[in-house]
């Protein structure tokens, strides 16, 4: 791989990690894509480059991106959670239900986040205790969670959230900087540290690379996975609070289809869908890319469903590109 002969012998403090450099170049690629899209957007629409519309653009992706941060960890550990959007629906329904009994803003937030964590714990229990494959389990809980919302709400909606509740999804911390955006950046830092700078993060990578080796190295695999499911539930709960606050109402169809967008974000961010590799920086850039694409196309009156073609193509092309290039070069991984 490395044909550059070193001038003098050095003893590396860690082994040359081709995976690491691959991720690095992936991030560079993503960043280039993000910049190209940014420039294309500002050329395509005169309304794009204004502080307020850029601020609006962030609302498009912050809630999904918050979940993507936790989902990245989960996927790196070799599991997946398809129920995240359904968790939003259930958490939001629970908040709306509590609202009918006069719950105030702090209680609503606690309920939203609490239901999220409970749902995550339920997924985690099924996957780690009963040892079921997460992809099917979460397809099941996805129907179950959203199904409960449908049972509670039917074709009705919960409305009339208190004015103070609106801050989370509509409030600004400073000038055009929204609360959602600040929360996302803060969480991105937290997750970056958690994944890349703590032993917990190391364990996640170990599990994703080799479940059995991790077990024999003393990593409590099931416990870590359980915690990751809870974490994903927590982030879905937070997203539920933000989204409910932003929309000001709860319908059982809330956040429909978000699970696919969240996973697209994670995979686009360079996280290996088979587990074992990925970075938070990549996911954050991917979140910006998806936000910019959808917002820019929205400014050009491109319907959402057509935007999704672009996202789908982006997903496949960005993943296929390094593989095609690698094959053309004749190098095998």
């Amino acid at each position: 791989m490395n044909d550059q002969a070193p001038a003098h012998r050095t003893i590396p403090d860690r082994l040359d990690n081709p995976l690491r450099s691959a991720i690095f170049s992936w991030q560079t690629l993503l960043l280039v894509v993000a910049i190209v899209i940014f420039i294309a957007n500002s050329l395509a629409s005169p309304y794009f480059l204004s502080p307020w519309s850029l601020s609006d653009a962030t609302f498009n992706f912050t809630e999904k991106a918050l979940i993507a941060l936790a989902m990245a960890l989960l996927i790196i550990a070799g599991e997946i959670d398809l129920s995240v959007a359904a968790v939003i629906a259930l958490a939001s329904t629970a908040m709306g239900f509590a609202l009918q009994y006069g719950a105030d803003t702090p209680v609503l937030v606690a309920i939203g986040i609490g239901v999220g964590v409970l749902c995550g714990a339920f997924n985690g229990f099924l996957v780690t205790r009963l040892r079921l494959p997460s992809i099917v389990v979460t397809i099941g809980t996805m129907s179950l969670f959203r199904g409960i919302s449908f049972i509670v709400l039917g074709d009705q909606a919960f409305k009339g959230y208190p004015a103070s509740f609106a801050f989370f999804g509509q409030g600004y911390v400073w000038w055009v900087v929204s609360f959602e955006f600040v929360l996302f950046l803060a969480m991105a830092v937290v997750y970056f540290v958690l994944l890349h700078r703590t032993s917990f993060g190391r364990r996640i990578f170990t599990i994703g690379n080799n479940n059995i080796a991790a077990q024999f190295s003393g990593v409590r695999v099931e416990r870590v996975k359980f915690m990751l499911f809870c974490l994903t539930g927590l982030m879905s709960g937070i997203a539920a609070v933000l989204l409910t606050s932003r929309l000001g109402s709860t319908r059982p169809s809330i956040a429909q289809g978000w699970e696919l967008e969240v996973i697209t974000m994670v995979v686009l961010g360079g996280v290996n869908i088979l587990g074992g590799a990925g970075s938070i920086i990549g996911v954050v850039i991917a979140a910006f890319i998806m936000g910019l694409v959808t917002f820019g196309m929205g400014l050009l009156n491109v319907p959402g469903i057509v935007q999704s073609i672009f996202i789908g193509l982006l997903l496949i092309v960005v993943i296929a590109l390094p593989i095609v290039v690698g094959k053309l070069r004749g190098t095998r991984k």
Partner: protein, 326 residues
């Protein structure tokens, strides 16, 4: 392994019978032949799609784009029927599966030649196919009055007391049974699902077999594209939206293992019928149809928990990991 699946099928068949009997005590007409035939007819498309999905799942892959493929193939066929009513319907009926086959082949190609995990590929093509459905129709729907009478009538034509739609499902199930149990490709699909490494040593091309599995799933999706449009007499970009999950649910409930290699034609068919019966039973026993989603979710979780018992790995791999085995 196969014995476990067999007992599983028997339990599921019993569960369906009990379910039908229980509902019949509440509403006498439920078990009447007419009603049962009508339930089967309503479940036909789900059965066909579940069979296609099963083949893909057997190879340790998954096809999330199957419902989007239904929507796109159906839309293309409906648009042709709308724009050129002179084109004979049988030609369209042949064209639909071929279209679906082409879309499935795209999935298969990406999985085979580019080594992209199936879940990623089909996640991408899911949005692409559905978006394309919207694009080619210009955001419009094709309604009943824009279709030729033949186009709508064929699936409803009665043969020996059953509509053509039901017969199609029966024929497809028989074909799948023959292919999966009596042909080399069926054996190969099971082989790479059970143990890809051993399959490679046995001379089976894993990538190519996966490609064929995706082609099969695309083929039936295309067929269902026509069936769906003809049955519901509407083609829109919302056709069968989210239906891929129902299809996967039918497979899982039937006992098809998401880990690959385990599952039979009977299991997929029974899984689909189980969901179909529940869907029809709820309104009859006075439960709001809004319960359907939570119930199928619970059914999936229970089914996977039961499957897990059958899936515990017993053997261990003694062969060196082979190139191309994944």
């Amino acid at each position: 392994m196969n014995r476990l699946v067999k007992t599983r099928e028997i339990w599921l068949a019993l569960a369906i019978v009990v379910l039908v009997a229980a509902v019949t005590t509440r509403s006498g007409g439920f078990a009447s032949p007419d009603n049962l035939a009508s339930i089967f007819n309503d479940t036909s498309i789900l059965i066909i799609l579940a069979l296609g999905q099963m083949v893909v799942i057997l190879t340790r892959s998954i096809d999330l784009s199957i419902a989007a493929n239904v929507a796109l193939s159906g839309m293309v066929i409906a648009l042709i029927n709308q724009a050129a009513p002179g084109v004979p319907v049988p030609l369209l009926i042949v064209a639909a599966p071929l279209l679906g086959l082409a879309f499935g082949a795209i999935n298969g190609f990406l999985v085979w030649k580019l080594d992209i995990p199936a879940i990623v590929v089909t996640l991408g093509t899911l949005t692409i196919y559905r978006g394309t459905t919207f694009l080619i129709a210009g955001g419009q729907w094709v309604n009943a009055d824009e279709m030729t009478p033949d186009f709508i009538a064929i699936t409803r034509a009665m043969i020996l007391g059953l509509p053509v739609l039901s017969w199609t499902a029966i024929l497809v199930a028989i074909t799948f049974f023959l292919v999966m149990t009596r042909s080399p490709i069926g054996r190969a699909i099971y082989a790479i699902g059970v143990n890809p490494t051993a399959a490679v040593y046995a001379g089976i091309d894993v990538g190519r077999t996966k490609f064929i599995a995706f082609c099969i799933s695309g083929l039936v999706a295309g067929l269902c594209g026509y069936l769906w449009v003809s049955k519901f007499v509407i083609a829109s970009s919302e056709t069968a939206i989210g239906y891929e999950l129902q299809v996967i649910a039918a497979c899982v409930i039937g006992g098809v293992s998401i880990a690959g290699g385990v599952g039979t034609v009977g299991s997929a068919v029974l899984g689909a019928i189980f969901l179909g019966v529940i869907g029809r039973a709820l309104p009859v026993i006075g439960v709001s149809p809004f319960w359907q989603m939570a119930i199928s979710g619970t059914a999936i979780i229970v089914a996977v928990a039961l499957n897990a018992r059958a899936e515990r790995k017993t053997g261990r791999i003694i062969l060196k990991q082979a190139e191309g085995a994944r």
